[in-house]
Symmetry: C2
Subunit: 456 residues, 2 copies
């Protein structure tokens, strides 16, 4: 990629200035009154893509926020990279904790401070500028498509339908995404796995009304006591989930990948101190990063029932509730797990109560094989700019749209993120270091270069 | 008790008319604006006692509502009965569910309808009229003292101090109380036991803030999961409480008393149907009435933590809470049990969380031995009017002042109640059947007669 370093250094100021224009738009997708800002952001992205060298770019309407699509097809026989990013941002509350206006970007201490500076305007914009360089320098080695959505922060509600209806438009060989973080400054990583999710609400009903705990306590099953016992049974003393069949589809990660994962710097002492816990807890036989990355979990997200006010009111309540979720690993189907838990949990209910499980939500996990050409290209690109191989990381979180892409479009994604933990995404004083920004713009064309070579 | 039946029948109308005057006073102790009504009620009780034949009667100030005390001492060598009743009533909400004005008593279908008709103006007033008969007919066989308080419905807040400060005034051999119910119409019963209470709040702290359940779930202990496991451990599969030492002071009830208790009519089918449960649950080896009457319980009265709103928000919460209570049986000291649970619960906390138990409240249990002369006198009095022996009943509930009397005054109480379950105390349309009212007035002088005989 000849002339890349020079190009970046000569255009630094312009890149920032253009990014700042994008950051100034308060495109908060969760607040209805910002709808016009979503359109302004979509139109600006259209202009960004066209200016950068796209053959065409369009703003597509959805039933929700608009989507900007752009492309440059240089040769249909060459592979096609689909870049996915999002133009929407999180709300800015609590606003008083921001040192400067979240929508008036400012560089301080070598960092861009603004809502969206990292997530995902800053990271998305790197792709536009990398693309611009490749077009302007005539070094674009394959076709490129851009899909910039406006609802990522509210669950990508309308994107699956858009994908369903535009499969041909979005046809590609790989999806490239910069919306994740590196393990640490200078230590690149590639998120190779995302956990799926199953989410339930359970309702345990004892007597048909709240009872006097004196007159009835001891003789009538208390739904909170029962719920506690039922939840307690869901995991054993080794931290394993006891739902029959729960692990059936879990694929054990290879020793090689576990070794690579183990190379990620991780200080358990710091980790515990930051969380304020004396001890960690989880499934026996796995490290902390494995527990969150490659193993499923079972967490009660919420519980309630009976008297929860001040003081000592006695009651034997009629009902108790819990919201329960499992993070799932790739190959565990969330529909199947949802049903497994529901039938198991209902089946172990003692006859003294009624138990009803409602399946509330779910998402598939995702895994990017580390022998995929695109993964190897990303690995080499990172190595080029950081002088070290990126660590494959299994993230415990979920980016549901990544699994949806695979389901609907049949295409894998490579998560080539340049964020840092300190970027405070979703929080006050979100920022993005200039160094990450420029390094990203330098790394991305190398991804294209290596990817095109590997796909030959 | 010569002339008793005639006396009652000749004075029926007057008795009702006097009771109605008392019922018309809206002496709601929990509502501050009714304070003047508390004084009106106290003065009226003074007049009632003096008119009935008391040597003296006084209204005593407390830091809360007034107390009316009256007495007739006929011979200091004779035993003294202390009658306890309360002049205060519960609020009347929801007022629109009352068929008639709660403070304008009315007789319909042979029942007096009014707030306090049973609890405890109606039942308390029976004692005044029984006393009146004995005085007027010169058949009072012992000394009588009356203690009518104004805070029973708000926890008898100031009565313990009054007792402490007036031990000599209240000196007696037995306390006689009509503030409970019979098992069923025509089936008399005597409440021989009241359960005590220990009440805690527990707080389980995991990480120092709510965490992303994807990024941390499986590696960091979830305080709700932990709390559920800890609560689950508090009872075993036989329904026994597992706190070490919990049962140490529980006195097994004699086979004779269990047999007597078992005579109480009880239809498990109806009981379950009324509660809407398919099965009952409790400690193995005990009947339902034994489980609530003579065995301690362990109930979670409330639980909360994490996300409890609509839908499926994922979170690994920082904290989880529960309010937990045990109903205790007589001889289990609530202070001791409170400490036993606290130290046990805190000791089983896994190192991955912090657990804090706060003792919120407690009260001693109470038991009236069925071989006590006063119990046997009450038994005979009931037998006289109902032609059947009363059933000794252990109530699962608590009347804290009864234990307080025993602690401070060193005197046992006999709970000679004439209420019925259908009286709707504390509810709209509270009522008291005329038959129960007049039968009570007839039974009480027989208690005095048999009691004086047995104490000779």
């Amino acid at each position: 990629m000849e002339g890349l370093k020079n190009y970046i250094s000569e255009n630094k100021t312009r890149f920032l200035s253009e990014l700042f224009d994008l950051l100034r738009i308060p495109s908060i997708s969760s607040i209805e009154s910002h709808k016009p800002d979503m359109y302004r952001a979509a139109e600006m992205w259209k202009k960004i893509l066209l200016d950068a060298g796209a053959d065409k770019a369009e703003v597509y309407e959805t039933e929700g926020n608009p989507i900007t699509y752009g492309e440059k097809i240089i040769d249909t026989s060459l592979p096609t990279v689909l870049v996915y990013a999002h133009m929407d941002v999180m709300p800015v509350d609590p606003i008083d904790l921001w040192d400067t206006d979240p929508f008036e970007p400012e560089v301080r201490d070598g960092k861009i401070f603004a809502r969206g500076a990292d997530d995902d305007k800053g990271q998305g914009f790197m792709h536009a500028k990398a693309f611009e360089f490749m077009v302007k320098s005539n070094q674009l080695p394959c076709n490129v498509k851009f899909l910039i959505e406006g609802e990522e922060e509210v669950g990508s509600v309308h994107l699956p339908k858009f994908c369903e209806e535009n499969k041909e438009l979005l046809k590609s060989d790989i999806i490239l995404v910069s919306d994740t973080s590196m393990i640490a400054p200078g230590i690149p990583s590639i998120t190779t796995g995302l956990r799926g999710l199953a989410y339930w609400q359970v309702e345990v009903t004892g007597p048909n009304r709240d009872l006097h705990s004196g007159l009835f306590g001891g003789a009538v099953a208390n739904p909170i006591n029962v719920l506690a016992k039922m939840i307690a049974q869901m995991t054993d003393e080794k931290g394993k989930v006891t739902i029959p069949g729960f692990y059936d589809d879990v694929i054990e990660v290879s020793e090689m990948e576990r070794k690579k994962m183990a190379q990620a710097p991780f200080d358990e002492g710091n980790y515990k101190e930051a969380l304020g816990v004396k001890e960690l807890a989880g499934e026996e036989g796995y490290t902390t990063n494995e527990r969150t990355g490659i193993r499923p979990s079972f967490d009660v997200c919420g519980i309630w029932g009976g008297y929860t006010g001040e003081g000592a009111k006695t009651v034997l309540p009629s009902k108790a509730y819990a919201k329960i979720s499992s993070r799932l690993v790739p190959n565990q189907d969330h529909h199947k797990i949802a049903e497994l838990f529901k039938s198991h949990f209902e089946s172990i209910a003692p006859a003294c109560v009624k138990v009803e499980v409602t399946i509330l939500h779910g998402g598939q996990g995702y895994v990017c094989p580390i022998d995929l050409p695109a993964y190897r290209a990303a690995e080499k690109a990172y190595e080029y700019v950081f002088n070290r191989k990126p660590v494959p990381v299994r993230s415990g979180g979920s980016i549901p749209i990544i699994s949806t892409f695979e389901e609907i479009l049949g295409v894998k994604s490579v998560l080539m993120g340049f964020g840092l933990e300190s970027d405070a995404i979703h929080s006050p004083n979100e920022n993005y270091p200039l160094e990450q920004f420029y390094t990203g713009i330098e790394a991305i064309p190398h991804f294209y270069k290596y990817y095109a070579e590997l796909m030959k």
